[in-house]
Amino acid sequence: MVELISPMIKQLTPIKFILIFGIIFSSCEPIVNKFDDIEGAVMYRANNIVDVGAQNTVKVMTWNIRFGVARLRFFGDGCGDRVVLKESEVLEGLEGLAEKIKQEDPDILLLQEVDVQSKKTGYIDQAQWLLDHTDFNYGAYASMWESQVILADGLGRVNTGNLILSKWKLENAERYQLPLRGDQDALTKYFYLRRNAIKAKVAMPGKPFYAVNTHLTAFATDDTKQKHIDAFKAILDGIAAEGGYFIAGGDLNEIPPNASKLDYCLDDQCKGESFHEYGIDKGDTHKEGSYFAPEITWLSSLFKSYTPAIPLDVYGAFETGHFTHSPDDNLQLDRKLDYLWTNTTWINGTTHQEATELSDHIPVSATWVIP
């Protein structure tokens, strides 16, 4: 063996050595996926496909599933101290989600915070898992955070994002990059979330329509959220301008324009934190993502242009009945952040507050009447 290999290696001059090095180097993957402005979504299909014909109505549901960890005390979105969850805990959470999804039986499901390859959730591909444990046939996924490693808190590898699940085939699925936060330094911004909206054409036989799913910034302290809302609306405007029909939704991380409570800083405060210390030079005295007063009108343009599953007057008449979120392990829902929209008509808009234990958000569903 040595006699065989040695002459081959001896032919390897330094120039050849450098050339081989260059060829190999060109195939390297970046640590962080920065994404194009518009790029194709990642497509999924269930192991068993069951054909579904055309319908006159389509049940649509949106749900931020908190990467399948239910109300476990994860550190990143509450006051918990857990980072890397046990695989058994994640599977238990996913089973709870699948059971609820099968019970509601939507035709289109818009999911946010779906992990497909994250250390924190045992590297379970939750998109494929949910497809194989519900009655959906097809999926389109757009990552909002894809990095080989996040160098903080022991998070490690992350790939999490938005997912559209459908009983009909999804076509021309595209990921639209939303603006990055404008209030972060360059290093933090490089490793931080890259929010997106995902649009796909649902190929229901004879009656194709579009599904759009998004998850907007939660913690930006500047006008990034306004830019996200504008970009999301621009996608919907584009579909409408071409004469298309859409169902759209997601976790907009924004409360309705007629919400009565705008300040959640003290509700969301963790042990050791302190907010509203006016008069003391401590910079922002509000908790990031918990103070909505400056942005209370930002969803008005969506409400004026398109039809929500839960109209503002319905929400205003019974606010607590339409809350969709409460942080951490607090089971008392206290704000509405999740929405469904269309450019035609909804019926039976429902806020599923019975699902409070399955995630820190609860699903909103409605039946879309096909024009």
């Binding site: 040595v2 290999i5 040695s6 290696i9 001896k10 390897l12 001059t13 330094p14 050595f17 450098i18 081989i20 090095f21 190999i24 180097f25 195939s27 390297c28 993957e29 550190f75 990143g76 101290d81 857990r82 980072v83 890397v84 046990k86 390859q117 250390k119 045992g122 590297y123 080989q148 490693v149 160098l151 903080a152 808190d153 022991g154 998070l155 490690g156 590898r157």
Partner: protein, 255 residues
């Protein structure tokens, strides 16, 4: 800044090398000392052996290497290394002393995990044939055993190239490593090294790693040399398989 530099040094461990003689069965001549930016301190002893010590104090290790009887054209040696990783693994749970969510910058292992007292013992055989001017070939193979005071959570792995296979012995209890190196001097000051290592990690979610390294070596004198090139790593991790290509650099000093 000091802590950031320490972190980079830790992450860089193993990126460079090989040492002047370390991958081969050759020993440092008695009384000679060598140290590199990314390689351990080594010293030739007068009894026909050498010792090396990791200069990164949070990850102390000591290795002893000595000759065996020649086997046909092969010069033979064996090396025993003992390492204590507990301090380093605890340190990378919070390198900058921050708490969870502050954020705990550069933490590679979540602070929720308890890192127990651990040591590893690694023994390997090495054989070398040929001379640098005509090409010197070395092969080696060894077995590592990890001894833990308490079980280390499998979820606490660092799923990154270089680090994952080297820490795997503490999670799985055993590591098998087989490798080879070809060194050739092409001009008076220039030589190159092609090195290959295979890690087998039975019991782990990532079961193997292959590392291939190519380095150009510029030797100013017996007191200094510069190595630069690449390291190609293809391995299996808890999330699946992936390949990485990393730059490799070392500055080595001898006296």
């Amino acid at each position: 800044m000091k802590k950031i530099i320490q972190t980079i040094l830790f992450i860089s461990l193993g990126l460079a090398g090989p040492q002047w003689e370390d991958e081969s069965a050759g020993l440092l001549s008695p009384g000679r000392h060598e140290i590199g930016l990314f390689s351990p301190f080594r010293m030739g002893l007068h009894n026909g052996s050498e010792i090396s010590v990791n200069k990164f104090l949070l990850l102390p290790s000591v290795a002893y290497k000595t000759n065996l009887a020649q086997f046909h054209k092969w010069k033979m040696a064996y090396r025993i290394q003992v390492a204590y990783p507990t301090m380093a693994m605890r340190w990378i749970q919070s390198p900058l002393g921050m708490k969870l969510g502050e954020p705990d910058m550069f933490a590679l292992i979540s602070p929720e995990f308890t890192i127990p007292q651990m040591i590893s013992v690694y023994g390997e055989l090495m054989g070398t044939t040929g001379a640098p001017s005509d090409g010197r070939l070395s092969i080696n193979g060894g077995l590592g055993i990890g001894l833990n005071g308490k079980e280390l959570a499998q979820r606490a792995t660092v799923d990154l190239p270089i680090i994952y296979p080297r820490l795997s012995v503490y999670y799985n209890g055993i590591l098998i490593k087989i490798g080879g190196e070809y060194f050739r001097q092409v001009k008076e000051r220039w030589s190159y090294v092609i090195d290959y290592d295979m890690f087998l990690m039975p019991g782990g979610r990532g079961r193997f790693a292959f590392e291939q390294k190519g380095l150009l070596v510029w030797s100013k004198s017996k007191k200094f040399r510069l190595l630069f090139g690449y390291k190609l790593i293809a391995g299996e991790y808890p999330f699946g398989s992936q390949a990485h290509l990393l730059p490799a650099l070392d500055l080595q000093f001898g006296w």
